[in-house]
Point group: C2
Chain length 312, copies 2
């Protein structure tokens, strides 16, 4: 046997993940679900918790004396932060969910504009609907509120649809191959009345919480569509229910406030509102992109290089 370098021990959610990630130089991966006793608890330096596990399990991190980093499989990290031991780095899965979430934004937009909910309800009662001219996505003006990974992934998907795309971010900047310019959020009031579809792809922060309120909705074009794939609390739900009930806006929401939406909540039954149960990232697109991120991150970690996506 030749010289063997130092090996870094990391934990992955289960043996399936260990097998799927495969060999990474300098890394010894062990399965750990954060419920049972881990193998080699004294040596684990990085933990990858499972994708949809409850955040309370992260309380177990406190028992790992060698822990230096936690790599999440979610983009959100606010529920993990309180469990993070002092001095331990936290990395999120930024980018991993962009394809799936942006795809759902376009799905909700198309389904809503082209009348799929009506056709599904028609199908339930064997009813072949009429052929009145409905809206197309073609020729619409789409406003992307938020132009990070998900906003850009939405823009890429809209390229072939004969639409005009406009992007807004927290501060103005030059455009890219997808949009001419990225407008600053202070221009939002001027932009809203000109757009047929408004897509929310912002993180939930103090600045975005409740951003879509009564005045925001009143500034939207009459009959325009609001698509939310960010976080429910970006929207003032009561204001949205009022605007939708009056037919001033339509909405297609993958996230709501509260969430899950309880039985009897008015969003379930307001005309022109389509709700999907927070499934933006939860698709077959997740695993291959998560594996690619883990391989990159573990290789860097084993080589003593900095991790990407450090959030705290």
């Amino acid at each position: 046997l030749g010289t063997v370098g130092p090996v870094t021990v990391v934990s992955l959610p289960d043996q399936d993940w260990v097998d799927a990630v495969g060999e990474v130089p300098g890394i010894d991966a062990v399965p750990w679900d954060l419920r049972s006793e881990p193998a080699r608890p004294d040596q684990i330096e990085l933990v990858v918790p499972s994708y949809l596990g409850p955040p309370e399990l992260l309380a177990r991190l406190a028992g790992l004396p060698s822990l230096r980093a936690v790599q999440l499989l979610t983009a959100g990290y606010e529920t993990a932060q309180p469990y993070l031991p002092q001095g331990v780095q936290l990395a999120n899965a930024a980018g991993v969910h962009d394809a799936s979430t942006a795809e759902l934004a376009v799905t909700l937009m198309l389904a809503s504009l082209r009348g799929i909910p009506d056709f599904v309800r028609g199908q339930e009662r064997s009813h072949w609907g009429s052929r009145a001219l409905g809206p197309s996505l073609a020729d619409r003006r789409v406003l992307l509120v938020g132009y990070g990974g998900i906003g850009q992934a939405v823009a890429r998907r809209l390229q072939g649809f004969e639409v005009a795309i406009c992007a807004v971010a927290s501060s103005p900047r030059d455009g890219d191959h997808l949009v001419q310019r990225v407008h600053g959020i202070d221009e939002l009031g001027d932009l809203l009345p000109d757009h047929d579809v408004v897509v929310l792809a912002v993180p939930l922060t103090d600045a975005t919480k409740g951003m879509v309120d009564g005045p925001f909705l009143a500034a939207m074009k009459h009959g325009a569509l609001l698509v939310n794939v960010s976080r429910g609390k970006v929207v003032d739900t009561d204001a949205l229910v009022r605007a939708a009930a009056e037919g001033r806006v339509a909405a297609a929401l993958d996230v709501t406030d509260p969430e899950p939406l309880p039985p009897g909540h008015p969003l379930w039954t307001t005309p022109g509102v389509l709700v999907s149960p927070h499934v933006g990232g939860a698709t077959s697109a997740f695993r291959p992109r998560a594996l690619a991120l883990l391989r990159d991150q573990l290789r860097a970690f084993g080589a003593g290089e900095p991790l990407r996506n450090i959030v705290t």
Copy 2:
């Protein structure tokens, strides 16, 4: 008044269309719905019948002694042909419906894969569904059967979705900027087992009638999705109902055989089947594209140049 050249009289479906088309050199457009008496019946040389009018109205064409051409606003022309007087040219609206129809193909594909019908049914009973990992369109292999205007418009729309696209047409040819190669229809048997989504975008001809039969469906990958935006008779409906009922394929259909689908028809209730009521072309995308075609065609007709889209 200066010299006035010869003027060609044409009819458009109503005064709205006359106003919307606007001035065209060499053309005098009159409104005619094919129901009332037209103005100047002896002089009308070209007729544009209304978009969704019954084909029987075309019997009126026989009373126009100067008629030289009919410009349809539909892509299909099989119902108009029997009413065409001897020696009169027929032009269809090829291209006008591509954007809207291709958009619906992508809408049906995304809605079906991402579970929108389940979410709509869940919404009907205030049910927030589970977060199990469903399929994404990302990473899927999409087979376009038919690569004319609509097939190409589907390919353009799929560019940003992280999919592999493969096109099949009646004869093989070089690819374009969207697909590497256009395969010949004789390669279909080899291609079907490799694809997750199969889109039908072929015209209805003797060759395509009943093309999607039991063996075609059996050759598809288990659980693959069939999307039909062409004509219902391209698919053997009984064979599709059997394959879908056994869970071998899913289907999203804008066209069916018979059409409209009568109450009680098994397609309404077969699991994994989504039906829209032949709304591929019937959207707001129609009118601006139809107007652009009419302006081009009338200008050419007035100038004595050949019309595009001549079908007989």
